[in-house]
Amino acid sequence: MAYVEWLRAARCLKITAIVLGVALVLIVALEYTFLVGSRSSLSGVELHTSTGDVNARKILDGATTTYSTLPDGTKRTTIVNAAKGIRVTVDDHGYFGRHVEIFERSVKGTEKLIGIGPVSFRRAAVPGGSVVTIDTNEPEDFAYLAAIATFVALIIATILGAPFARQNDGHLEIALTSPAPRTILGLGTMLADFAGIAAAWLMTVAMLFLAHVAQNAPNYTYGPLDTEVIVLGFAGVLAWYAMLCAATASMRRAYGVVLGISWPVAALVAVLAKADLGDAPMAQLVHWGATPLSWIDPFTYLHFGPAFTENGRPAGSLAVSLQNELPALLILALVYVTLAIVQWRRVEA
């Protein structure tokens, strides 16, 4: 029966691989079209500064452009617009990214730091104006890849999430006349699915890595925080998968409905328990009802937040809190696995 489940998981992985492959092609195409463009022009800057603070047309109109090569081989494009008091320097490191500095005289923009994946945008005040610094291949926290992969893994977990219900729907005679005890069969089934989910996680990371590497040199950082993100992510996916198994272990037909509403319901419960809904009695009742449900909802514990440095500034990293969340998820996973197996042992053909 683990073999059957593994075949199912493998089929799912095949489809996942195709979807990820198509996504990869799309991402690379989009990157090439919008974010890179011609390496020496400013056509990408406008997208980088989508806040509208820096306007490429405004910069180029009436500016003089000079090209030079730095001692280390970097191609530098310098654009000076004396009339508007703007100076732009674009250092093109080729595969290793671009570094753009835009100095605007007497513009007092607000201090800002925005990062999207490997691209960072910073505005800082300097004497006489402000400088916007754009880097297209900043070090990227591996945790971002892990978080996206966890999301995909949750989807795969949902698709694979009702193995017992599928057995119950007309195939119990095979499972129940096997020389292996039902408990072992059940655990083997869940293990096969989880291996498939883990494989999907890895495939996603690989796809994101390839998408990055197709355009820019790999520039990932990995530290203890990232390990925590991975660990919590897997614990969360395991708890989620186990929950779905437990919810559908006694069903025969309608398991698709349960899988379908699992996300909206779980998300709603997590939100309602945390949100401040006001003092109205109805709101209190909803909060009071949602809170215990949120304790058994894996989504409640799966929050990835920004990490902060000691002085409170964002450290540009993704972090999780493991202290309560990890044990809670592991306990939930254990409880749900047990519930699933106990139910499945009682099913009649």
Partner: protein, 303 residues
């Protein structure tokens, strides 16, 4: 030691007793046919026996021991309806069996599939009902199991393949394995089984060796010259299992000694008295059907 011993099996669904005190013993190395009308409870017996449904009460022993998961190494089962995974190929089902059972012989499975004209590369959903039965049969017989439990193993099969399944059953019997199978095809049961049991409304109504049942049971038939006659208590004779009369014709279902009963009937004034052999279908129909609607059954105690 019997291969299978069922004692007082009872399975109720709420108020309804699908199986009501059913007992049966399958001797080792025998072929046992289970007959019964639709809804008699045959499939329920199989399911309870194999732990697929929880029994309400009763004991089932295999080679003298209760059923545990390991016992399934020695039992091969063909269910009544297709349990194949629609999205898997036949070859994948073979592989699944190979991994699940130690004594499974994949080469034999492929050989049997070829005999039934099933292509291993086909997905189950592309197979007709009969082919699905053929696949389940092939997988079961490739198990080399000493006990085979087959629930309607010929359903949906064309006559050639039906005969083929019978040959497989007979082959297993020749190898000394035990086969318990249910079928609506009484001719098949007559050929392959040496023991039969008849089930009706959850109960066992008849059991015995096919040959003995056919030699023992006969119909004694006679015609009386007019409608008023007495049978002088022949109907109460212990050898007479049942007596039906339609106007002037009397039919007695007799166990043993049919000739003597025939003489008694002649002496009572009947003419054209004859003894008629019964085949298994007749025996079965008598066991499960109420008396002929147009006849008055002569109640025991009146003549």
């Amino acid at each position: 030691m019997s291969s299978i011993k069922i004692s007082n099996l009872r399975k109720t669904y709420g108020q309804f007793a699908a199986v009501d005190g059913f007992s049966l013993e399958i001797p080792a190395g025998s072929v046992f046919g289970l007959l019964g009308p639709n809804g008699a409870g045959k499939t329920t017996v199989f399911k309870c026996m194999l732990g697929l449904a929880r029994t309400t009460s009763g004991v089932v022993l295999f080679d003298g021991k209760p059923l545990v998961p390991e016992t399934f190494e020695r039992i091969a089962y063909v269910p009544e309806r297709s349990v194949l995974y629609e999205w898997m190929t036949v070859a994948e089902h073979v592989e699944m069996n190979r991994r699940a059972f130690k004594a499974f012989d994949p080469a034999r499975a492929l050989e049997l599939l070829a005999q039934f004209n099933v292509e291993p590369a086909k997905r189950s959903r592309a197979l007709s009902k009969g082919m699905r039965t053929a696949v389940m049969v092939a997988l079961a017989f490739a198990r080399n199991a000493p006990i085979l439990v087959l629930d309607e193993p010929t359903s949906g099969l064309d006559p050639i393949n039906q005969r083929h399944v019978l040959s497989l059953i007979i082959n297993e019997a020749a190898r000394g394995n035990s086969v318990l199978f249910s079928s609506h095809q009484i001719g098949q049961v007559e050929r392959a089984a040496e023991h039969i049991a008849v089930m009706d409304r959850g109960r066992l109504v008849l059991e015995g060796l096919v040959d003995d049942l056919k030699s023992d049971r006969k119909i004694v038939e006679g015609i009386f010259p007019n409608v008023t006659y007495t049978l002088n208590g022949i109907a109460n004779d212990p050898r007479v299992l049942r007596a039906d009369r339609t106007e002037r014709i009397v039919r007695l279902l007799v166990r043993d000694d049919a000739d003597n009963v025939a003489t008694m009937l002649s002496n009572a004034g009947a003419t054209g008295v004859r003894v008629v052999d019964l085949n298994l279908e007749d025996i079965f129909l008598f066991a499960v059907s109420p008396a002929d609607a147009t006849a008055d059954v002569i109640a025991k105690g009146s003549s």
